[in-house]
Symmetry: C2
Subunit: 121 residues, 2 copies
DNA sequence: TTTGCTGTATTAAATCGCTTAGTACAGTCA
DNA sequence: TGACTGTACTAAGCGATTTAATACAGCAAA
């Protein structure tokens, strides 16, 4: 369900957090479904429970999951989290477009670079 | 000319490197112009010369600058570096667009989010 | 040549974030 | 009660970043 790559320079807790965020926001994990327990996932991925806990804590702060002490963590109705993520992504998008314009690409070139999977230049 | 923010979680050498890369690729620093010396810039920014040196080394590897031992570092004709950067940015762009599509945004919404500086939803 | 700049290389130490390990406590449910 | 759940805490190791202090070599001008 979630994969962790030790050669990835990003911290493990970020990989876990981003992996679940994607699964949740894309609807693969529907609202209300139960997240694996901290210890269970830690054993499955062979990493420390504290690292999983940190990922879960951030997902909770983002509004992606809702934790109930003693019961577990559950995917929450994530309209707010989805809106937050859309906002982040559009901000990234605008920054990239701005810099590409500064590098001399016009709007048509940028659009074609988005639509076509082919590399430019 | 370059600003460093200690509260930025990114390493200082990355901030320096990215700052100069932007100045060079955008044409603010024209090809052939002299970069500040390692010691001079370190004193100006109040950081260690080794940190500046690391930023310069990476800029040289990217092809943005050309260093001549004993003389200094100079902005190089950076067509290859510009192409590299364009490639990085279009890759970022495509990844963001892909995720936004997965979040339910259609192409028209994405395009308007790029064109208009206003936040959506 | 001497002086003063330039980049480069090296080592040691301090700091910080990430990760692991171990332990402990409290809530939930069969 | 017992077995699970999340949570909290401390201690330690590790690696990257940064600083510090030197040292060496190339270039240019007085």
């Amino acid at each position: 369900m979630i994969q962790v790559n030790v050669r990835d320079p990003r911290p493990i807790y970020e990989q876990v957090r981003d992996g679940f965020r994607r699964l949740i926001l894309s609807g693969v994990l529907p609202a209300g479904s139960k997240m694996p327990s901290v210890r269970e996932l830690a054993a499955e991925l062979a990493i420390n429970p504290n690292t999983i806990q940190r990922a879960y804590r951030e997902l909770e702060l983002e509004g992606c999951i809702c934790t109930v002490p003693g019961r577990g963590s559950f995917v929450s109705a994530s309209d707010a989290a989805a809106a937050l993520r859309r906002r982040e992504l559009t901000d990234e998008l605008r920054a990239a477009v701005k810099e590409l314009r500064a590098l001399g690409m016009n709007e048509a070139e940028i659009l074609s670079a988005i639509r076509e999977g082919t590399g430019n230049d």
